[in-house]
Subunit: 314 residues, 2 copies
C-alpha cells in the first residue's frame, strides 16, 4: 500500500471524517492500490448493522431516514448514511433535490452523510455501496443506513449491501402493484406504511400482509408491517425497535450471511474482469478492430466474441 493510501487509512482510524471521505472517493474511482487498501480496511470492520431503505418516489423515505436518525442519535448511536441519488442524464451527476431536507441531520454530531449517484459507479452500484459501507464501518459508526430514491433495478441491487431491507410504501399510490413489478417485494424484511394519516392506510397495510402469503420462499417468515407519519415522527420509535428485533433475527441466519458474501464475491470478480477487459481493449485496440470487421461485413459478432474470449480466458 503506497503512502497516500496509508496516510488516509491511518488518519481515518484516528477519527478524521475528511480522510474517510477522501478514501471513499479514491475507492469509488478505483485508483491504483484500491484493492490493497480495501484489504486493510476489511481488517478493521466490526460488521456494523446495515439498514437499507427503499420505496417508491414520494413515499417520504428522506423524511423517514431523518426521523430514524434522530431516534438512533437519541439512543447514543453514531450513524452513517449512504444516500443513493438517481443520476441526472444531463450532467451525469446526482439529482440532489431530495437531499436538501437531509441537511438538518447532517449537522448532528456523529452523523455522516455520503451521496452516491446511481450511474458511473466504476465497479457497479452494489459493489460500490458495499465498499462505502465497509469504509464507514471501519471508521467506527454504530449503524449504517442506505437510502435510495427510486424503485428500479439499481435500487434492488444496492439493497444487496444491506443486512435488513425496509420497503417504504404510501397509501394511494397503487404501491402494492408497483412493488411487485419492481421485485421490491422479494427483498423486503420490514414494510413501513408512511404518511399513515392518509386515507387508505389500513387497506394498504392489509394488502401488504396478505400479499406475503403468496410468496412461496418467504412463507417461513413474517414481514412486519408498521405505520409511521415521518413528518410528525409518529411511529418512528416503534419502527426502530422492531428493526432491531428483526435485525438480530436475520443476522443469526447463517445461510443469509453466506448468500450475501457469495453475491459480493461474484460481483467483485465479475466487475474486476470487466475493468480488466476495458483496459485491455483500450490498449490493444482489439475491440475497435472487431467492430470494424463486423461493420465491413467481414465477420459476425459471434465469431469475434468467441475469439476474444479464448484470447483472455486461461
Amino acid at each position: 500500500m503506497n503512502n497516500d493510501w496509508k496516510t488516509l487509512t491511518d488518519k481515518m482510524q484516528d477519527g478524521s471524517v475528511l480522510a474517510m471521505s477522501r478514501l471513499i472517493t479514491k475507492v469509488e474511482n478505483r485508483e491504483p492500490g484500491w484493492l490493497n487498501a480495501m484489504q486493510t480496511i476489511y481488517g478493521k470492520i466490526k460488521r456494523t448493522p446495515v439498514i437499507g431503505l427503499t420505496g417508491s418516489p414520494g413515499a417520504g423515505k428522506s423524511t423517514l431516514t431523518n426521523e430514524m436518525t434522530r431516534v438512533l442519535y437519541s439512543m447514543g448511536l453514531s450513524v452513517g448514511i449512504v444516500a443513493i441519488d438517481p443520476s441526472s442524464p444531463f450532467t451525469g451527476g446526482a439529482l440532489l433535490g431530495d437531499r436538501l431536507r437531509m441537511t438538518d441531520i447532517s449537522t448532528l454530531e456523529n452523523v455522516f452523510v455520503r451521496s452516491m449517484a446511481t450511474r458511473g459507479a466504476m465497479g457497479g452500484l452494489s459493489v460500490a455501496a458495499r465498499d462505502v459501507v465497509k469504509i464507514i464501518d471501519a471508521f467506527g459508526k454504530d449503524i449504517i443506513l442506505i437510502e435510495t430514491v427510486g424503485v428500479g433495478q439499481d435500487e434492488v441491487e444496492v439493497m444487496r449491501a444491506a443486512d435488513l431491507v425496509v420497503v417504504v410504501c404510501v397509501p394511494g399510490q397503487g404501491d402494492g402493484i408497483q412493488a411487485i413489478k419492481a421485485g421490491i417485494m422479494e427483498i423486503a424484511d420490514i414494510f413501513v406504511v408512511n404518511k399513515a394519516d392518509r386515507d387508505g392506510t389500513d387497506q394498504l397495510a392489509m394488502d401488504l400482509e396478505s400479499m406475503q402469503m403468496l410468496i412461496p420462499d418467504k412463507a417461513y417468515k413474517e414481514i412486519p408491517v408498521l405505520k409511521t407519519i415521518s413528518t410528525t415522527g409518529k411511529g418512528v420509535k416503534e419502527f426502530v425497535e422492531t428493526l432491531f428485533v428483526k435485525l438480530k433475527e436475520l443476522r443469526q441466519e447463517k445461510s443469509r450471511q453466506e448468500k450475501r458474501i457469495k453475491e459480493e464475491l461474484v460481483e467483485l470478480v465479475e466487475k474486476e474482469i470487466e475493468r480488466f477487459l476495458i483496459n485491455k481493449w483500450d490498449k490493444d485496440g482489439s475491440l475497435e478492430k472487431g467492430v470494424n470487421k463486423i461493420v465491413a461485413g467481414e465477420e459476425n459478432p459471434y465469431s469475434i466474441a468467441q475469439d476474444m474470449i479464448s484470447s483472455i480466458i486461461k
Copy 2:
C-alpha cells in the same frame, strides 16, 4: 452445427414459424451449439429495421403497438413483435396481463409475436433481445417491434437492440420527470404523447419539446413529438410515417451503427465470460471454498477475488 440446429435453421428458412419459435427458445436457453447456430443465422439477416417502444406503465404501449401493427400490415409489411414482460416474483415467469390485448393482432397473417420475461434471460436481457431480433430478421420479417412494459434499467437496456426508440408518454402522469429519472430521455428518438384526447396533452408535448434543449449531446438533432389516440387509431398513421423518415435518417449515421455493434460485442463477451465463470465454479467449487473462508474470517473478499481473477485470466 449438429443436426438438431441444422434441421431447425433449414425449416425456418423454408418459412416454418414453429421452427423459428423453437430456435429462439434453444438460443435463449444457451443450449450447446447456440453460438455456431447464431453464426449461421447471422449470415441470413438483412438488417431488418428494429423499432423499440417504451414508456411508463399505463401509457398505452400495447394498444399503440397493436394499432401500429395494423398500419404496417395494411402497407403490406410482415411484422415481428418482441414483447418484454416484467417477470413475476412469484412464479419467475412473465406477467401476461398486458398481453391479452395483443391476441387480436397475433392472429393476423404475417405477424409473429414473441414474449420474453425480464428475468432469467441467460445471457442478459439486451443480448437475448438482440438474438431474438436476428432470428426474426433471418426468418424474413420486414420490420420488428420491441415493446416493453416498464421504464426501469431493464427496459433502457433492451432498447439498445433497437435502431430507433419511441418513448410513449401520457398526459397527467408527471411523465416528464419520470422520463428523466429513468434515463429514458437519453435514448428517445421519437416521443409519442398517447391518449392525446386527455387534458394536459399540449402541455406535455411542449414540455417534451423544451426539455430537449437541455440535453447537450442531443442538441444536434431534433426529437419529433407526435400525438396519438391509440384506442381510436387517431394519429397512428402519421406516427408511422414520421417513424420511417426518422429511421432512414438514423440508419445513415455510421457512428450510431458502430456504437451499437460495439455495445453488442462487449455484452456478448462479458455475458459469455459470466457463463464461463458460473460453470467453472459449479464444477470446481472454488466459489464455495472462498465463501467459507470469508465466513470463517480466514480471508477477506478482496484477496479471494484477486486470486480468483488471476486463476482465470491469461
